[in-house]
Each structure stands twice: as C-alpha cells, then as structure tokens.
C-alpha cells in the first residue's frame, strides 16, 4: 500500500517534469517557426530531495524545499523571520515557499511520520549561485524545526547526491513550556503560530524536550516525545 502510494507520487512528479520539459520544447518550437536560426532549448536542472524522519515520536510538518540564488533562511544567533517562526510554531510552510528569495519552491505532501521518508522534485533554469534550503517542524514541540540552509547545488553533477544528518533548531520565538494548548502536534492539538515572541528571540540548537516523565509536571509530552540529534536525514540528488 505504502509502496504504491510512493510510486504514484513519483510518477506524478515525473509527470510534472514532463510538463516542464514539454513547455520548454514548445517555447523552442515557437522560436523555430519565427526564426530559422538556432533552436534554443532552455536548459533546466532538476533536483530530487529526500527527507527521512529519524525521531521516535515527532511527526514532521510538510517539508518546504526552496531553490534560491542568494540569502539565508536562518542563522545561529539571529532572530528568525516571520516565515520561519510560522513554520516552526505551527508547521505552516506557506510563507517560506512564497519567500521573495525563492527562485522556485515545492512542498512534500502530507505529514512526515517518524521513520517515514518523503521526496519532492524541484527545477531551476538558474545555473550559477544556486542554493537549496529545506525546513520542517517537529510538531510535538513548541517551536523546534530542522532542515538545511543555503546548500550550494550549482556544482552538483547529474546523479550526484549530497546527504546531511541535521540537528533540531529552536526558533527561539516561543517559550518551551510544553504546556497544554501550546503544541500543535497530536500530543496536544494546541495552538500553532502566535506572533508573540516570549523566548530568547534568536536561533539556537534545541536542548530537547523535558516531558512529564522527566519531572516537568506541567508538560503534555511524555518520554516518547524526546529526541536526540540528528533528527532528520536530508539528501539532495541532481537528476538532470
């Protein structure tokens, strides 16, 4: 069942690539009729991102995947953008996907469950200064997220893969109270994004969840929600 789902998602992605290629061909075909001189096919790079959730019981929100030619989505010690705050507190990746920095963006489908993998294809006609960033929330936390920031992919050869085991970040925008009503994941079903910033308001690595089983009486989390680094495996493969 899972296998066939995976297959249909893959074939859908290939269909999308096919549409892109057809569009490129159509443009060049138009050129051909108006101008008998050289046929120009717009060169397109296609990357595949694979993400595996390495945690015990931290489902992850749909992974935002963005190609960009400049900028960082986050930096240690700096306040995060509202786009990252929104992703890290509520699992909503729409603002990251629509970032002004984005050359192209795509989201994986659905929640990435513990032990599961998800993939997405993303294309670009930019060939220099091309970076890939990706992010996802650990949904049974107040504001933990993980991912990759500004990975240079412009020198990646076709068939080449980069792999990253990444730690969990603390967005620093919401206190790690673990209290009822503050965590959007299934452990609580509480609030996601809230514009108030009541933690340190700069990015660090996450120090882990304490949980009620380890003495934090007001926590809605239990020992199964604890995690250690790394929390996610991210692979980038250039497929064209």
């Amino acid at each position: 069942m899972k296998f066939s789902k995976e297959n249909s998602r893959l074939s859908r992605n290939f269909r999308q690539i096919g549409i892109v290629l057809a569009a490129v061909f159509f443009v060049s075909a138009c050129n051909d009729t108006t101008d008998p001189a050289p046929v120009t096919i717009v060169p397109t790079k296609i990357f595949r991102l694979d993400a595996t959730n390495l945690t015990a019981n931290q489902p992850m929100s749909p992974v935002a995947v963005v190609l960009h030619t400049s900028g960082d989505f986050w930096q240690i010690g700096q306040p995060v953008s509202v786009a990252i705050e929104t992703l890290a507190e509520g699992g909503d990746n729409s603002q990251m996907l629509q970032s002004a920095m984005a050359d192209n963006s795509v989201s994986t489908a659905g929640i990435l469950l513990p032990g599961a993998s998800a993939s997405a294809f993303i294309t670009s006609t930019n060939f220099s200064n091309l970076y890939l960033s990706a992010a996802t929330m650990l949904v049974n936390t107040n504001d933990a997220f993980s991912g990759i920031n500004r990975i240079a992919v412009d020198t990646l050869a076709v068939g080449e893969t980069l792999a990253f085991n990444k730690a969990a970040y603390d967005a620093g925008t919401e206190s790690n109270s673990e209290m009822s009503g503050t965590i959007p994941g299934p452990a609580d079903g509480g609030e996601g994004f809230n514009s108030q910033r009541d933690d340190r308001d700069f990015l660090t690595l996450h120090s882990g969840v304490v949980t009620q089983d380890d003495g934090l009486a007001t926590s809605v989390l239990n020992e199964s929600h604890r995690f250690d680094n790394p929390v996610i495996l991210v692979k980038i493969t250039r497929v064209q």
Partner: protein, 231 residues
C-alpha cells in the same frame, strides 16, 4: 591511468610543500539555548600534541579548565609544545547564540585543537582534539560536542566550587540556577574523558536534587559550530 596517478602524486607533494605557515580565520558559534562558555583555548600544534583524548584520563591542566574554566594550565602545556595559541578570543564568557572570531597563524603546525568549559556544569567541556588542518584554502565547518572530563561527580550543586578536586559547579552566569539541591550523584563512574550524558536538572529552584533548571540548562550535541577559513 599512469598519468593521472602521477598528477595526483605531484599535487600531494605540492600541497605538502605549501602546508607551512597557515593563516586561519576562525569563528566560534555557541549553538546552545542555555549554556555559557568560559574563555576558549584555540591552538595550532604538531601531530604529537593533544589537549585531551577521549577514552583517556584528563590531565590536571585540563581538569583546571573543565572544573573551573581556568585556561592557564592548558595554555602552559601548549606553550611548552611550541603551539600557536589563542586564549580568550571572546574577552570573557560566550553567551547562547553569540559568536567570536579570531585569527590564528599556525606556523609549521598542522593540527587544530580547542577547549572551553560549559557553564553551568561540574566538569563539562567542549573540545576539538587535533583536527587536521586542510592544506587547500577554503571554508570548513566543524561541529563540536560536549565531553565530561571524568574528574568530578556531576552533583549539579551550584556552590562556587571551581578549583580542581572541589565538588560543585562554580556558577550559573545566566543567574538562572537554583539553590539547596541535595545532589544528583556523588559518584563519577567513568573517570576517563567521555561524551557528556547531559545535565538532569529539575524544576524546583529552591530544592530538589539539582540546582540546574531542566528547562534551561540541558543541551543536545553539537554545542559549538566552528567556521574555519584556511586563507
């Protein structure tokens, strides 16, 4: 095939010729949410020198730094070994989310090491043991983990005890520690340097077993990130 082997061999020979006198531009990032670092020791040294080695007992000089933050003993060892040493680049404590930068001319030394104590802990330190400095110019990133010096029981009692052999934690500089903890443990079962198991803490600021706050003073590795640019 033969030619490419020859080319590789000659490029290795060339790069080893160029290995002398490397200039490093180093930035140290405190990646933790609530841990504060004492003055760093950063050193370029030869292949035979180690500030510490995991699985071996800490030197009394490292014990001084890991239990009390005092870098002077480690610096003395490195000076004796003709290392290029940078001490206290942050000019004091390095707070969560903060970074500090230093330039290091390694001279003829091909290896890089680093140590700093984690506060508040009994004898936790972050360390790099003899990272081979690449001969190719460029930017390199190093994740740094927290180790337990194995020289003091992790009782998690903040009592000002920072001298070697004196129990307790010297301070919680974030002024977020508790008092009257009864002590998490009085034993140190692994007396060699090992990966720190992390702090326990509790949520009772005036009692409980620990003076540390489980919501603030825990961490997960890596605790530091280094950007090393070989110029």
């Amino acid at each position: 095939m033969q030619l490419s082997k020859l080319l590789i061999a000659s490029s290795i020979a060339l790069s080893s010729l160029m290995a002398s006198a490397q200039q490093l531009d180093i930035t140290i990032y405190n990646q933790t949410h609530g841990i504060i670092f004492t003055p760093f020791v950063v050193a370029g040294h030869d292949a035979n020198t180690h500030i510490f080695q995991v699985g071996q007992a800490a030197s009394s000089e490292l014990q001084m730094q890991a239990e009390g933050g005092d870098p002077s003993g480690v610096v003395g060892l490195l000076n004796t070994a003709n290392a290029a040493v940078s001490v206290n680049p942050a000019g004091g404590l390095l707070m969560p989310g903060q970074s500090t930068n230093l330039m290091l001319d390694t001279g003829m030394n091909g290896y890089l090491s680093l140590t700093s104590m984690l506060l508040p802990t009994n004898d936790g330190f972050a360390g790099i043991d003899a990272w081979k400095v690449p001969t190719t110019a460029g930017v390199y990133w190093i994740d740094v983990d927290a180790y337990d010096a194995g020289t003091e029981a992790n009782d998690e009692i903040i009592n000002g005890g920072g001298a070697p052999g004196v129990p307790g934690i010297p301070a919680a500089p974030g002024m977020d520690g508790g008092v009257n903890g009864t002590g998490v443990t009085s034993q140190e079962t692994n007396t060699n340097i090992h990966v720190h198991r992390g702090s326990l803490g509790d949520t009772d600021a005036t009692g409980g077993s620990s003076d540390l706050d489980s919501r603030i003073h825990r961490w997960l590795n890596p605790v530091l990130k280094l950007r090393v640019e070989v110029l």
